[in-house]
């Protein structure tokens, strides 16, 4: 059976089947393999394209040389520094920035630096089939702005003009970082704008980059030993009547996902912005690299608590008491102040059965979700009609299933909306578990 195991180790769900799966989960319905023939043909074509582009992309690139796209002719300007060159000397205004400001203007390139001319050939995916995936950090995550110093530190830049080597000259930068409820940094982003041109660079520590628009045939290239996926689109997304050039790249920098997009009506500029980021962060420059990530927000937006702690909060009185066979899986407080919290969630499980409740406090001026029942009315008869007993539910265990339902409880001059998700309990058990008032 050793041979069976070694063979099975190599059996893997294909990336295309993974995309099918993610699309199915996004739409909530199965996405069958009706396009598999096309996908296989597309994959073959894609591999040929990737090989061809991989061969022609970044040909004989000169480490450290900045580039201008669209031409193979070199600029009549001094060559850029090599990878081992020291950082450029500061210009007179390079240091004039407020480290605590929430924006940063990137000054001109240091004297003696210029981008050399070299084309960047990427596939044009304009009009190709695309799956849009919306991502959001976990509920309870917090986002804050980055200071100018944090933005510089993020790129290991000692001065603002260092960032001009990325093609960001004249761009005004703003940044933000998002912290998950457990205190871990979820992402850090820097955005730049200059007139009608812009870019955004997002870092995802410890995970692959989250790609919101997933195209079927995006080739991957090797760039200085790093695998990069990149392409461009020519679309009018701002509705000004003319197309913008959207140049995009995704890659892993160590264990950190990087997602980058530049947008401009000037194709040359959009291409330059992408090319320089790829050049610098795949290791061709010696003095710019991803550096210190911003510190996560000091106070987590939510925290896990014991059942006793949860019960001692003002909303604790509205927690259910599931049957004794159930054990607490997790209880969490969100949006705490000194006197109250905005949300209390708790879940209990027994085998494949569970009880989950979300208690949300709504002040008098807020409108809670409409209730499905009055707590005092919640008896066996109503619950039997609301739920259903199933013998075989998509391969799950037999038992009672209930659509989620919401109850309201008065809490001072506020309202607590309790939303329940329950599986496996009988109507009698549900009626006993949920407080009447």
């Amino acid at each position: 059976m050793r041979d069976y195991r070694t063979y099975m180790d190599r059996v893997r769900l294909s990336p295309m089947a993974h995309l099918d799966l993610m699309e199915a989960l996004e739409t909530g319905s199965p996405r069958r393999s009706h396009r598999r023939g096309l996908w296989a043909a597309g994959l073959a074509a894609c591999l040929v394209l990737a090989a061809a582009i991989g061969w022609s992309l970044w040909p004989a690139s000169d480490p450290g040389a900045a580039l201008l796209p669209g031409s193979a002719d070199p600029l009549p300007a001094p060559s850029a520094p090599s990878a081992s060159a020291p950082a450029p000397e500061p210009s007179s205004y390079a240091q004039s920035y407020d480290p605590e400001a929430l924006s940063l203007l990137v000054p001109a390139l240091p004297e003696g630096y210029a981008f050399t001319m070299e084309g960047l050939v990427l596939p044009d995916l304009t009009g190709q089939p695309c799956v849009t995936v919306c991502y959001a950090p976990l509920a309870g995550s917090t986002t804050r702005d980055l200071t100018a110093q944090e933005m510089l530190d993020l790129f290991s830049a000692s001065r603002p003009d260092n960032l001009a080597l990325l093609g960001w000259e004249g761009f005004t930068l703003t940044g933000s970082c998002t912290t998950l409820p457990d205190g871990q940094l979820f992402s850090a982003a820097v955005r730049g704008s200059r007139g009608s041109s812009s870019f955004s660079l997002t870092l995802f520590p410890g995970q692959e980059p989250l790609v919101e628009e997933q195209y079927e045939h995006v080739p991957a290239f090797d760039k200085n030993g790093m695998e990069v996926t990149a392409y461009f689109l020519r679309e009018d997304r701002d509705g000004d009547g003319g197309p913008e050039y959207h140049y995009r790249a995704h890659f892993l920098y160590g264990d950190m996902g990087v997602s980058y997009q530049s947008v401009s009506p000037d194709e040359g500029l959009s291409q330059l912005l992408l090319k320089e980021v790829l050049r610098v962060f795949t290791g061709e420059h010696g003095f710019l690299a991803f550096g210190a990530l911003p510190a996560p927000s000091a106070r987590a937006a939510s925290r896990e608590v014991t059942l006793e702690e949860a019960a001692s909060t003002p909303m604790g009185a509205f927690l259910p008491t599931p049957p004794r066979r159930f054990t607490l899986s997790r209880a969490e407080l969100t949006g705490e102040t000194d006197t109250q919290c905005r949300q209390l969630t708790a879940g209990w499980a027994h085998g494949y059965d569970y009880v989950e409740v979300s208690l949300c406090l709504f002040p008098p001026y807020a409108k809670p979700p409409a209730p499905d029942f009055e707590p005092g009315d919640l008896g066996t008869e109503i619950l039997s009609a609301w739920g259903a007993y199933v013998e075989d539910d998509a391969g799950d265990v037999p038992g009672w299933r209930y659509p989620a339902f919401t109850l309201h409880y008065p809490c001072g001059d506020s309202t607590v909306a309790a939303t329940y998700t329950i599986k496996g309990l009988t109507p009698e058990e549900v009626a006993r578990a949920i407080p009447a008032a």
């Binding site: 070694t6 063979y7 190599r10 769900l13 199915a24 989960l25 069958r32 599986k423």
Partner: protein
Amino acid sequence: MTDPNRLELLVKTHEQTLYRAAAAILGDAHEAEDAVQDAFLAWLEKTPSCPDAAHERAWLLRVTVNGCKSRLRSPWRRRTAPLPESYPAATPEEHAALDAVLSLPPKERATVHLFYYEGYQTAEIAAILGEREGTVRSRLSRCRKKLRDMLTDDM
């Protein structure tokens, strides 16, 4: 509603495990992909509360195995892409092992895969398959004998 990031993590964590199990039971690459989709869609619909990844895996495997059983019962089941033709090339020894496992009835394939590849104990397999542990033990013993007869390598 499951959080999209949480769902993405769940898929990345378990999709290969489910796919291998479905492929072992169904012997068909495309049907295995569909079975994996069905399992995650069931998760999306039911949003079961599992305390850790091991329970998640067991829940998803149970749904996958049951889904595979339903597919094998279906008279409309496609039989177009047998496993050895749609998966990585195998050495002669690997091919023999795979052929031997795929020649077993589906229930036995599921048991063998969960035991020898996923490393589950018989009690855990019984929970996943919804059967008694004694049934799983006797089936495993029967499978061992069959495979021993078909293969020359050491079990």
